[in-house]
């Protein structure tokens, strides 16, 4: 192994993909932070954001902000000029708005990505898909956070 390569515990699983339910949204969040507004503007560069094609789901009620379930689904036909290229995951209230950027190879087919994210507080999260033809599609999801990320009582 090269010197910088070390061994960490890694877990893998594999299964057939299940179907996805769609969440309902409550609106209890504070207005988005300036950081978020700026990050969104940099990303869209004045382009119109459409809804559809992308779906974002986060736990409606998160027991701890240090780990909140998150699922992104994008309809993505093969061999078309408007395939998804990049998905931006943005938080309205975190100190750093960008949570992750997902770069998707061409001809991937429908995209389903799941991860766990940190949320400082109750807020909306946005997933914005940029297509190969430049079009933008977005969806948002709200999580009520019962215990904020980054508290440690021991």
């Amino acid at each position: 192994m090269p010197p910088m390569m070390r061994r960490r515990s890694v877990l893998f699983g594999i299964a057939a993909s299940p179907a996805i339910p769609y969440p309902s949204l409550a609106q209890t969040s504070a207005p988005p932070s300036t950081l978020f507004t700026v990050a969104l503007a940099e990303l869209t560069k004045g382009r119109e954001i459409k809804s559809g094609r992308i779906r974002l789901e986060t736990s409606p009620l998160a027991e701890s902000g240090s780990s909140v379930e998150c699922k992104i689904t994008v309809e993505n036909a093969l061999a078309t000029p408007d395939q998804v290229q990049t998905i931006h995951l943005l938080s309205e209230q975190n100190p750093i708005p960008t949570i992750a950027r997902f770069h998707i190879a061409p001809d991937t087919g429908d995209v389903v990505i799941e991860t766990s994210i940190r949320l400082r507080t109750t807020q909306r999260v946005h997933a914005i898909a940029q297509m190969a033809d430049g079009a933008l599609y977005a969806d948002k999801s709200e999580s009520v956070v019962l215990l904020a990320a980054c508290l440690d009582a021991g």
Binding site: R7, V10, L11, E63, L147, D152, A153, G154
Partner: protein, 265 residues
């Protein structure tokens, strides 16, 4: 690991109406009732995560522990497996019997202590500190090998004094809030505190992955969190106080099957 510890700021919130309910002095009642594990109070989402070997992040330490057990440590010392062969058979049930009194020293020794004893005596290596990934990994691996085994600690003979001390600590009011373990974990089971539901403090899931810690943690770390919650004088991880409490908790929950690593909020 040091970096991880300072990532988060200590904030302790106990709702004032809860303190009020505990403040009245008076004799402590201890009611006999079936013990309820914190796993019972997990949300369905967290319970599903705990049961899923890929989503249960504690399994990352179990995997690391298996590697540490079988691979020889750097420096030429024999691996754990050199002496203990296949852990699946040699270590099954060990975690359920500990802590136990060591015949030679007369001290109460838990799993962490046993592992460190072998490191010092059999491998000529320095002991591992509590809450290091290595010690958590080895104890998580060895405990998981006893999953399903009922707790079966001995409180007879030389262990009886340690048990009595643990029981005393359990019933003693402590901290600025002047609350005893028993007031929460015997008398307030099912009640909400800081968004948690108070369980019977069944210690079968430790080491456990706690979302608030964002890592795996030992039972002693959990006990320290409870002491912090009542703003009490903290004991050292691995201290005789925590060891005595560990023995008391494991005896109190005897026959409850080990189910580790658990997932906690």
């Amino acid at each position: 690991m040091g970096g991880l510890r300072v990532l988060c700021i200590a904030i302790v919130l106990i709702h004032s109406h809860t303190i009020g309910a505990f403040a009245a002095d008076g004799p402590l009642r201890v009611e006999a009732q079936p013990l309820r594990s914190a796993s019972e109070f997990l949300s369905p989402a967290l319970r599903a995560e705990q049961a899923d070997p890929i989503r249960n992040r504690g399994m990352l330490w179990v995997e690391q522990g298996e590697r540490l057990f079988t691979q020889p440590p750097p420096g030429g010392a024999p691996s754990c497996a050199t002496c203990h062969a296949r852990a699946e058979t040699s270590m099954r049930g060990v975690a359920a019997r500990l802590p136990a009194v060591d015949a030679a020293s007369g001290q109460l020794v838990n799993l962490e202590g046993r592992v460190n004893e072998c490191r010092i005596v059999r491998q000529s290596l320095p002991p591992l500190d509590y809450e290091t990934d290595e010690l958590l990994a080895l104890t998580a691996y060895l405990t998981a090998l006893s999953n399903g085994e009922p707790l079966a600690v001995s409180i007879d003979g030389p262990a009886s004094a340690f048990y009595a001390y643990g029981q005393q600590l359990w019933n003693e009011r402590q901290g600025q809030l002047n609350v005893a373990c028993t007031q929460c974990h015997d008398q307030s089971v099912g009640r909400k505190l800081r968004g948690d539901t108070i369980s019977s403090a069944v210690p079968t899931g430790y080491p456990a992955y706690r979302l608030e810690w964002q890592t795996l943690g030992s039972l002693h770390r959990r006990l320290r969190a409870c002491q912090l919650g009542v703003r009490a004088q903290l004991f050292e991880l691995g201290s005789r106080e925590y060891l005595a409490l560990e023995l008391y908790l494991k005896s109190r929950a005897r026959r409850h099957p080990i189910d580790a690593p658990a997932l906690r909020r």
